[in-house]
C-alpha cells in the first residue's frame, strides 16, 4: 500500500491515548488530522469501495453456498434494494460529516492557537503590554484624527446634490482677496445675466435684538433672498421655510431657526414653530427649524427674508453679501465659471469705475464650508500616520526580537512535524490577538481623543459637533490595528516559520549569532523609526516656532486689563444725537465704576468679534484725482475720545481726539494710522493735510489730519497692519460700536458691570458680545494652538515610542552577541572597546535614519507652508534642534544596552554558551 504508508507505522488509537500539556498537543493533533485526511479516500470512493466490498463478500459467500457467480452478484445487489439510492444517501451523510469535521478541526486548532497565544503572552507580560500599548497609541491617534477628517471632510453636507451647489465670490478687490463678498448691484446683474444657475441667492449679515426671553440678546441673522433654501437644497425638519409672499414689504417678519440654536435657546420646544418671538421690538413668526447639521453661511443661527431694496442696484462699490447658487442640470462648474467670467467682463465694461478689476469666483460649497479646515486636518492626519508608522516599526521590531528568542521553540515544533502553515497560523493568531487588544486600547484612547478634539476644535473646525466614534470610525480602527500587526508581524512570521532545523537542533541551540536577514531588517527598523520620528519632530518644531513668532508679534496695543463690549444701538437710538449721547453717557457711567481708568468706544477694535468693517476710497486734497477704480482705499473707523489712550495705541504725531471733536457740529478732524501716513507722506508729516472721505462722485466730505497713531494688527497676529482713517464718533454717530474700557480691577467682572450700565440706559438694549481683550487675542490663536497641541502630543509620543523601539532592538542585538562579546573579553578586549564596537553599528544606523528623516522633513515641509508664520519650511534652526534631539535620544537608547553588554562578565557569558 505504498500510497498510505503512515497508517501502518502508527499504532491505531495511539493519538488519543494521552494529551500532554504544552505545545506538543497541536503537533500530535497535526498527525491525527493527517491520518484522517491523508489516507481517507474521497467520500465518493469511500462509499463505492465500502459497498463494493460488501457486494464482493456476499458474492463470495453465495458462490460458496452453490450459486453461480452471476446469480450471486444479482442477489447481492438486490439485497440493497436500490443500491444507487443507498450510495447517494451514504455519500450525503458522509459529506455532512466531512464538513462538520473540518469546522470542528478548524475550531479546535484555533482554540489551541488561542490557548497557546495566551500562554505566550502571559509568559512575557511586558512584551505583550509593550506591543498592545504601542498599537493602541498608533491606532488611537490615527482614529482620533480620522474621526475628525471623517466628520468634517468626508461626510456629505446636508444639501441635496451637494456637488451642484457653489459659492460665488467677487475677486479683484484692492486688498488682494479673491474670496470677497458681493455687492448688491453685482448680485442683481449676476442673477439676471447668468445662464448657468437654476437658483441664485444672496445672504446679508444682519443683527436683530431678541427681547422678552431673559436678558436682551443680539441675534446674528442672515437675511436671505427667495431662492436661498432652494439653491442649497435643504428642507426644514420642522415647519417650513419662507413662502414668496414673505418677500414683500410688511410680510417679512418671519424667521427660520437653526437646530442648534433652537435646542440651546428653546430646549427644542416643537411648539415654538408657529409662535412669535420679539425681535427688534416686533413680533416675528417662527416658521421652521432647519436640520441639525445645517448652519449656512456659518456663524449665524437665524434666517429671515431679505427684500431686495430699491437702491440695491445702485450699490456696486461696497460688497458685503454672500452669494450661493445651484448649477442648472447639465452645466458643469467650469462651464458656469466661463459663463460668469463673461458676465463679469460685461460688467467691467459697463461699470469701469467699480468693476474694472472685478471678477467672479465659483467655489464648490464643500470648499466654502470645510476648505479652511482641510490643511490643518491633513497635516494632523499625516502626523498621526507617521506616529502609526513608528508604532508599526516598533511592533515589527518587538516581534522580530521576540521571534528570535522563540526560534528554538519553533524549530522544535517544526521538527516534530508542525508544518510551516501551522506555525504561520500560530504566529498570525498571536498577531491578531495582539492587534485586537491594541485596537481596544486604541479605541479607548480615541474615545478620549475625540472628546479632547471636540472641546479644543469646537470653534475651529466646521461640523466638529458631529465628531463621534461611529461604526465607520470603529471599523477604521479595527482594520488599522489588525493590519498593523499583520503587515508588520507577517514579516517575522514568514521568517521564523521557516526555521533552520539543523542549526538549532544539531548544536545546543543557544547563542548562535543573528542571521543576516534578521540583522538587515533590524537595521531598517532602527533607521526607519529614527527617520519617521525626525519628520514628525520637525513638523512639530516648525509649528511651534510659527506659534512663538506669532505670539511675539507686537499687536500695536495693550490688551492687559482691557475689555471689549459690542453693541448695536440703532433701534433704541434712532437719531445721530441720541447715539452720540448714548455712548457719551455710557462712557461717563463706566468711568465712574471702581478700578476703571478710562473708557471709550470704536466701531472696530483689533481682534474684535463684531466685524462690521468699512473700507472705501479717499482723496487727498491738493493732489491730482486718481483714475476711477484706482482710488486709494482705507478702512474707516469711528472712535470716541480716549479710544487710543484706553487701548494703549500710541500717538506718533499730533494728537488724538478731544471731547470737543466729538460733536456733530465740530470742525471735522481725522487721525490716520502709521501705514497710511507712510504710504501717502513717506517724507513729510501728514499733519494739517485735508482728506476727502466721501464716496467717489458724492458731495466732498473733508477732514483735517490732526494725528498719527501706531499700527495695530487688525484681525489677528498674522494680519497685516492696514491703512486706517479714524473719524470722531460725533461726526456720523454709528450705532454699531465696541465699547472698550481699561481697569485695574478684574476685567471679567467689568464686562458684567458694563452690561448692567447699558441696561440702566436702555433695559431692552441687547449686548452683542463682551470679552476680555486678552481672551480675544488668545482665541485668535486657537486654531494654531489646536494643531500645535495635537502635533506636539504626537511628537512626544513618537519620541517615546521610537526611543523604546531603538532601545529594544539594540538590546536584542547585543543579547544575540553575548557569546561573541564574552569571547572577545576573554581574549582581552576592554570595556570601552566593546562599547565602541556595539555602538558603532547602532549609531551608524541612527545616522542613516537622521539623514533620511532630514531629507524627508525638507521635502515634506512645503505641505506645512500655509500653516507657517515667520519661519521657512526648511528652517535651519528648527532642523538643527530636531537633529540634535533625535541624535541624543538615539545615543541614549543605544548607550544603555551597549554599556550593559560591555560589562558582561566573560565567564558568565561563556558558561551560558
Amino acid at each position: 500500500m505504498p500510497r498510505f504508508p503512515r497508517f501502518f507505522w502508527l499504532p491505531s488509537g495511539g493519538f488519543h491515548a494521552h494529551r500532554p500539556d504544552g505545545f506538543i498537543v497541536p503537533l500530535i493533533n497535526r498527525f491525527g488530522r493527517g491520518l484522517r485526511s491523508i489516507w481517507r479516500p474521497s467520500i465518493h470512493d469511500e462509499v463505492e469501495q465500502d459497498l463494493g466490498f460488501h457486494v464482493e463478500m456476499r458474492v463470495r459467500d453465495l458462490v460458496k453456498a452453490g450459486m453461480t457467480p452471476e446469480m450471486a452478484r444479482a442477489e447481492a445487489i438486490r439485497r440493497f434494494g436500490n443500491i444507487e439510492e443507498v450510495k447517494a444517501e451514504c455519500r450525503g451523510i458522509g459529506m455532512r460529516r466531512e464538513r462538520e469535521m473540518r469546522i470542528k478541526q478548524w475550531w479546535n486548532d484555533w482554540r489551541q492557537d488561542l490557548r497557546h497565544t495566551r500562554r505566550q503572552l502571559l509568559g512575557r507580560p511586558g512584551f505583550a503590554a509593550a506591543i498592545v500599548v504601542t498599537i493602541g497609541i498608533g491606532v488611537g491617534a490615527s482614529t482620533t484624527i480620522f474621526s475628525a477628517v471623517d466628520s468634517v471632510l468626508l461626510r456629505p453636507l446636508p444639501f441635496a446634490e451637494q456637488d451642484r451647489v457653489v459659492s460665488l465670490w467677487q475677486t479683484g478687490d484692492q486688498d488682494g482677496s479673491d474670496h470677497s463678498p458681493v455687492s448688491p448691484a453685482n448680485y442683481l446683474d449676476w442673477r439676471d445675466r447668468n445662464q448657468s444657475f437654476s437658483a441664485l441667492a444672496e445672504a446679508e449679515p444682519w443683527s436683530m435684538d431678541l427681547t422678552g426671553q431673559g436678558d436682551p440678546e443680539v441675534l446674528p441673522t442672515w437675511a436671505v433672498t427667495r431662492h436661498f433654501f432652494k439653491a442649497l437644497g435643504v428642507d426644514p425638519i420642522l415647519g417650513r421655510t419662507f413662502v414668496p409672499e414673505e418677500f414683500e414689504e410688511g410680510n417679512d417678519r418671519v424667521v427660520v431657526l437653526s437646530h442648534k440654536y433652537w435646542q440651546r435657546r428653546f430646549g427644542g420646544n416643537p411648539r415654538l414653530v408657529g409662535s412669535t418671538l420679539m425681535m427688534d421690538d416686533e413680533a416675528f413668526l417662527v416658521a421652521g427649524v432647519m436640520p441639525p447639521d445645517f448652519e449656512f453661511p456659518p456663524g449665524r443661527p437665524v434666517w429671515r427674508p431679505r427684500i431686495i431694496g430699491e437702491h440695491d442696484n445702485e450699490m456696486r462699490g461696497r460688497n458685503w453679501l454672500r452669494v450661493v447658487g445651484r448649477l442648472s442640470p447639465q452645466v458643469s462648474l467650469d462651464e458656469a465659471q466661463a459663463d460668469m467670467d463673461r458676465v463679469a467682463s460685461l460688467l467691467a465694461d459697463e461699470y469701469p469705475a467699480t468693476n474694472r478689476n472685478t471678477g467672479v469666483l465659483l467655489e464648490p460649497i464643500t470648499e466654502t464650508i470645510v476648505g479652511r479646515a482641510r490643511a490643518p486636518l491633513y497635516v494632523l492626519f499625516a502626523a498621526a500616520g507617521l506616529l502609526l508608522l513608528i508604532a508599526c516599526t516598533n511592533v515589527a521590531g518587538l516581534l522580530l526580537a521576540r521571534g528570535s528568542k522563540r526560534e528554538r521553540e519553533l524549530a522544535l515544533r517544526a521538527a516534530l512535524g508542525a508544518g510551516r502553515e501551522r506555525l504561520m497560523r500560530q504566529l498570525i493568531t498571536e498577531g491578531v490577538v495582539l492587534g485586537v487588544l491594541g485596537g481596544i486600547v486604541g479605541v479607548g484612547l480615541a474615545l478620549a481623543g475625540t472628546g479632547f478634539l471636540g472641546a479644543l476644535g469646537a470653534s475651529e473646525l466646521p461640523r466638529v459637533e458631529h465628531l463621534q466614534l461611529d461604526a465607520r470610525v470603529l471599523s477604521f480602527a479595527a482594520i488599522l490595528s489588525v493590519l498593523t500587526v499583520l503587515l508588520f508581524g507577517l514579516g517575522p512570521a514568514i521568517h521564523f516559520s521557516r526555521p533552520d532545523l539543523r542549526s538549532y537542533l544539531n548544536e545546543s541551540g543557544r547563542g548562535s549569532t543573528e542571521g543576516s536577514t534578521s540583522q538587515r531588517i533590524r537595521g531598517i527598523l532602527v533607521a526607519g523609526q529614527i527617520a519617521l520620528t525626525l519628520v514628525l519632530l520637525a513638523g512639530a518644531g516648525l509649528l511651534s516656532r510659527s506659534f512663538l513668532s506669532l505670539t511675539q508679534v507686537e499687536p500695536g496695543f495693550e490688551p492687559h486689563g482691557r475689555v471689549a463690549v459690542s453693541l448695536h444701538v440703532w433701534d433704541k437710538n434712532p437719531t445721530q444725537e441720541e447715539r452720540i449721547d448714548f455712548f457719551g453717557s455710557l462712557r461717563s457711567q463706566v468711568r465712574g465704576l471702581p478700578g476703571v481708568q478710562s473708557a471709550a468706544a470704536s466701531s472696530v477694535v483689533p481682534f474684535g468679534r463684531s466685524s462690521i468693517e468699512t473700507d472705501g476710497a479717499y482723496q487727498i486734497v491738493g493732489r491730482p484725482p486718481a483714475s476711477p477704480g484706482d482710488e486709494p482705499l482705507a478702512y474707516f473707523t469711528e472712535a470716541t475720545p480716549m479710544y487710543f489712550e484706553t487701548m494703549g495705541i500710541p500717538v506718533r504725531e499730533g494728537r488724538s481726539f478731544s471731547e470737543a471733536d466729538n460733536r456733530a457740529e465740530a470742525f471735522p478732524v481725522l487721525v490716520v494710522s502709521e501705514s497710511l501716513a507712510a504710504r501717502e507722506w513717506p517724507e513729510t508729516s501728514p499733519l494739517g493735510a485735508q482728506i476727502d472721505i466721501s464716496e467717489p462722485g458724492d458731495e466732498p466730505m473733508l477732514g483735517e489730519i490732526v494725528g498719527v497713531v501706531g499700527d495695530v494688527r487688525p484681525t489677528g497676529f498674522d494680519s497685516a497692519p492696514r491703512a486706517e482713517i479714524f473719524i470722531p464718533h460725533g461726526m456720523f454717530g454709528s450705532g454699531s460700536m465696541t465699547f472698550v474700557a481699561r481697569t485695574e480691577a478684574d476685567p471679567a467682572t467689568l464686562v458684567e458691570q458694563i452690561k448692567q450700565e447699558v441696561w440702566k440706559l436702555h433695559p431692552t438694549q441687547a449686548v452683542y458680545s463682551g470679552d476680555r481683550v486678552e481672551l480675544l487675542m488668545s482665541e485668535s490663536l486657537q486654531s494654531r494652538r489646536f494643531v500645535l497641541y495635537l502635533i506636539s502630543v504626537f511628537a512626544v509620543l513618537s519620541v517615546v515610542l521610537s526611543a523604546v523601539g531603538v532601545y529594544a532592538l539594540v538590546s536584542f542585538s547585543t543579547q544575540q552577541r553575548t557569546g561573541e562579546i564574552g569571547v572577545r573579553k576573554a581574549l582581552g578586549a576592554d570595556t570601552r572597546r566593546i562599547l565602541g564596537m556595539v555602538m558603532r553599528n547602532s549609531l551608524l544606523l541612527a545616522g542613516l535614519g537622521i539623514a533620511a528623516g532630514l531629507a524627508a522633513a525638507i521635502g515634506l515641509g512645503r505641505f506645512l507652508d500655509s500653516m507657517l508664520y515667520g519661519v521657512e519650511a526648511a528652517d535651519p534652526l528648527t532642523l538643527a534642534a530636531v537633529v540634535l534631539l533625535v541624535g541624543v535620544f538615539s545615543a541614549i537608547a543605544t548607550l544603555v544596552p551597549a554599556s550593559r553588554a560591555a560589562r558582561i562578565d566573560p565567564a558568565v557569558a561563556l558558561r551560558a554558551e
Binding site: P41, F53, H54, F80
Partner: protein, 110 residues
Amino acid sequence: MPSARSTMLHGTLEALILKTLAWGPRHGYAIARWIEDTTDNAIQPEEGSLYPALYRMEKRGWIEAEWGVSELGRRAKNYRLTPGGRRHLRTETARWEVFHAAVSKILLAT
C-alpha cells in the same frame, strides 16, 4: 420463526451495530453477517438500512472508520467503536432492558 427484518426499529439497528463492534473493529459485511449468524438469521439487517446507519453513526461520532486490508486482499473500511459509541451502547442496552421487561410483563401476563 418470523423474520424481524421489516419491523426492526431504527434505534435497534444502531444498538445492534454498536454491540457487534464492541467485540472489535470490522467492516460492514462482517457486521451484517455477525448479526445474521448470531440471531440464526432471525434478524437480517437490510443492506439498504445498514449502510446509511453506519454513515450516520460515524457522523455522530459513535463509530469511526479505519481502512485496512481484508482477507480478500483488498482495501476495506473497518468500523470501530469510539468511547462515545460505547457510552451510547450502554444507554441503549439499559433502555432495551426496561422496554423488554415492560413489554414482557404485558405480553406474557397470564
